[in-house]
Symmetry: D2
Subunit: 262 residues, 4 copies
Amino acid sequence: MPDADWDSRITKVEPNHLVTKGYRQEDLIGRVPYTHVVYLLLKGELPSPEHGRMMDAIITASIDHGVTPPSAQAARTVYTGGVPVPTAIAAGIMAVGDAHGGAIEQAMEMLQHYVKMSDEEEKSFEALAPQVIQDLKDQGRRVPGLGHRVHTNDPRTTRLFQLAEELGVAGKHTALFKAIQAEVGKKRELPINVDGAIAAVASDMGFEPRLGKAFFVLGRVAGLTAHVFEEHKDFKRMRKLFKVNVGYNGPEERDLPAEYLE
Amino acid sequence: MPDADWDSRITKVEPNHLVTKGYRQEDLIGRVPYTHVVYLLLKGELPSPEHGRMMDAIITASIDHGVTPPSAQAARTVYTGGVPVPTAIAAGIMAVGDAHGGAIEQAMEMLQHYVKMSDEEEKSFEALAPQVIQDLKDQGRRVPGLGHRVHTNDPRTTRLFQLAEELGVAGKHTALFKAIQAEVGKKRELPINVDGAIAAVASDMGFEPRLGKAFFVLGRVAGLTAHVFEEHKDFKRMRKLFKVNVGYNGPEERDLPAEYLE
Amino acid sequence: MPDADWDSRITKVEPNHLVTKGYRQEDLIGRVPYTHVVYLLLKGELPSPEHGRMMDAIITASIDHGVTPPSAQAARTVYTGGVPVPTAIAAGIMAVGDAHGGAIEQAMEMLQHYVKMSDEEEKSFEALAPQVIQDLKDQGRRVPGLGHRVHTNDPRTTRLFQLAEELGVAGKHTALFKAIQAEVGKKRELPINVDGAIAAVASDMGFEPRLGKAFFVLGRVAGLTAHVFEEHKDFKRMRKLFKVNVGYNGPEERDLPAEYLE
Amino acid sequence: MPDADWDSRITKVEPNHLVTKGYRQEDLIGRVPYTHVVYLLLKGELPSPEHGRMMDAIITASIDHGVTPPSAQAARTVYTGGVPVPTAIAAGIMAVGDAHGGAIEQAMEMLQHYVKMSDEEEKSFEALAPQVIQDLKDQGRRVPGLGHRVHTNDPRTTRLFQLAEELGVAGKHTALFKAIQAEVGKKRELPINVDGAIAAVASDMGFEPRLGKAFFVLGRVAGLTAHVFEEHKDFKRMRKLFKVNVGYNGPEERDLPAEYLE
């Protein structure tokens, strides 16, 4: 459009003609797997077979963690209010924040920053790892992507790293993270969690940190849909989802000041 | 858990052990395509190869429609306020409602209702089609899933129906919808749109109507992520996304009543 | 604007000049109480002193119900994910639906429908009440706005009705609801809950049913803000807000079918 | 509750008895203005008459800015998708972020930090103002709360500052902000916008910065409700709200690579 107000690189919309990142949608549908189309949307090009398979694995790795995380609890809670399915799914996605899924972005920033430093300063990852930990400590932070509330050895991490090796996708960022983990492990054994594994592999695939929470959302939307649908099928609205055993420690009961009384 | 307050059929969460619909997550990751895992989450069983491929096609068919639909506009608009990526994606998903993507659910209800009636009353789809249209008309409604603001011949519909035939997935619901379209077409040519095509094929695959909007969300989340990421990379916050040329036709300017003035 | 694409009746925005429903915002600020400005926004005119005070009471009546309702739980749950304050407040508002706060809209529709019928058919409310209950029963519904999970005698209802009488606001819709409650009470004592009281009084003030959920939102936003702020100040992110004692009753653990294994 | 899992200071919920911050809700309703109850919820005590009136003014000052801000556009856009009123209002609130309403929080942080420094170092505001500007400049930031897209002299600011003087609420934070504005004004005349004015006055009232966006939300929810209701009454779903004149500058149209073709 010569007189367009601004341009978008995503989809050209014309009557009976939809072109996404250059490809006609009718060509993509049923021929290119959905997760490869996601890669296309975020990178602008279709993935190599290895990147395509890794992308699918990354998204599948976030698919669900039962009723334990805030996102699943929020989606189910909102649905009990009697709202449409997308509203409830959206509430679950809104819980994805700095403390829930956010470690992907934070770990991507860390890994990409220090891999670059390693390249520039010709420092080995083993030599760099103590500095990474010290730098974070100086900022009052822990290593993002290490440790988990439930798992001491996250099966999703093991699988993602194994697949990344098999496919030849694993590179510097994965190696650096393992060096950092080893350094931390001298004091206390902590697993790389699924957020950390996604961060490492996605960085090796050339993705930007700002997409970190999006990877999580792209997979978890499936689990959230299942939670909302189960709530729809098996349970009543306004049921008591959780035991809420909350006390009151506010001010003692009191009368209104005289000026408010008629 | 013998003393659980309630049960969920989705994921068993134990330390270092995540089992979704019976399958260990480390087995699913990188082996079963993501969209087949979505099918597993919603149906409880892995799809046949034909259903798996059709499921992937359905989700890919909803991936994006440029900056024209409310969902994309909402996601980009919210992002310009300076919020996290998931909040903006969620705002886009919230726009999926009865008028935007909702035709899937409505068409699934229609098709499943009248296919059942056809079975019970041994009536052909051709004989039933005029009744469907009349029933909707009596309720003041149009046929859901017919017609599009932009397309007279939606390329996604053509592709989905072609694939459903190829894979042997197309069944009674698709046949009924084509009969309804033919009947409507006697007066006015109207295409089955992508919502209608998804409704027909998903009904032939045995999905329930209440999942209609969810199919749309599961695919569109990818396009919304791309819109938000493009907004992040290429544009400034609080930019004027759209030309807003809105007048004021409220009450004329006036003074407050005297009692409010000191 | 002579060439405006469409018109809005709400606010005229010009440089250094903001006119809402005819009044300059600098005149409204600090002179007209906020809840009276809300009335102005929804009705187009400032309220009489009686309507103004009643409007304030209606909004205050929805202010908070502790950590028991889905809205408060959703807001707190989403905030623990590590998101901005408005995202968490919004999640709480999204839980306001047909089953949570929705009785206001449903009761307004009921009351306005049958008060009109009473006028047209010159039927007394006592004579009409059994018909209302029967009509709802025929639709498989209960009387909206009756009964509460916690209260047998909702103190907010008592206060709203008392004030409506004092101010001369109480009219036909309140009278009809009391007649319906009395009729129901012949079988089972059920209180008019706060949703029902708001529905009756707001109908007597001439508001439309579609605003029902909005009244609830306009007050509850204050409580939700307090919950989110308390979560911010007194608690950690990703804390376990609620005891989640959920079992798994999905398929037994199983191996992937052979075709997925390499 | 002796065995409560945790305590909340907000509302004690017992059958037929609701106590918020020590006051029975039936005492508050219709006696204490809603905005004073908001103050109670956020501070724990009812306001003095001066603080009560100022609080009402602050909330009213955020009530609406027509269809120009992202929040109003998001709420209306989401509503056109055919969703419940609260979902649409929530989408508007989600647009309140670092770039839209966020200046309140940022300005509160700035003012409270430097007022404290002024107290500790016994430095006058005039002496401190250049340092504030320099510090922000060193961080690559501008003064939050200065300047507006539409107004060179925001009528809401003028009114809020006038009222704060009249009521004796204006204090050190307001004085510091005026000193900063004067210093900036030596180079370029920039108005304190409504966000800045709220930040100054709310800081003088002893509120914490983290509540900044909440003040905006507490008022704007009224305008958003009006926008959604107007959309409901006067317009059709899926209407084209805004002229979307967006071009496509992605990859040229192309065929799928051979390996994807059957």
